[in-house]
Symmetry: C2
Subunit: 102 residues, 2 copies
Amino acid sequence: MTDFNYLEIDDVIHSRIRTAIMAVLISVDEAEFTFIREKINATDGNLSVHLKKLEEHKYISVTKKFIERKPVTRYKITKTGRNAFEDYIKKLESIIRSNSKK
Amino acid sequence: MTDFNYLEIDDVIHSRIRTAIMAVLISVDEAEFTFIREKINATDGNLSVHLKKLEEHKYISVTKKFIERKPVTRYKITKTGRNAFEDYIKKLESIIRSNSKK
DNA sequence: TAAAGTACTTTGAAAATTAAAGTAAATTTG
DNA sequence: CAAATTTACTTTAATTTTCAAAGTACTTTA
């Protein structure tokens, strides 16, 4: 078992809802607000706040359009976001693996 | 990609410091306060609060003794805690895997 | 015996999380 | 066709969580 600093875990990702958002976005090219909302069962307000946080950290990019007279907001994972998510998983795995093996 | 509710992720575990604590405790029979503190690089106050939270949820058990006139607090993962941690990992893996495959 | 260290716990401020309420537009209903 | 409802979000504000500084109760060292 090796030492590690828990602060190395990316806390922009390590929140239940943001982990879920990132997991959805890593698998799709683009996703609409409503699509994510339904995938992860989030409330509008909550989702909005956390998407904004991910955007502020440049983990996702956002485009807003009107389609058939309706507002549509699309989210896309950035390269930064993809790297961060991959690192996050590796870090978590290493913490779990380095500790859970006898 | 399947739907999931992010609220299914155990939030007693899904905190950086508590994930780290649980990862340490799952690998050892028992661990002292100071051992955990050094393993994960936590401050005393913060560690104390989160160990208490894990204890309140019966994920860990605590024994306090004096050894060579000094207080020694030992922590042990419970069956409940072990199950919760294993479920937590499975849930996270499924969220990540179900979404990250193209 | 005074000062410093150890092993924690308590506390309170700051940050994060959450859902209710709000906005602005479109659509449906009576 | 005006009012009510719905849609797609955003803002807000109350609650919860996180964190480290300060506190407690000793023990050890000088």
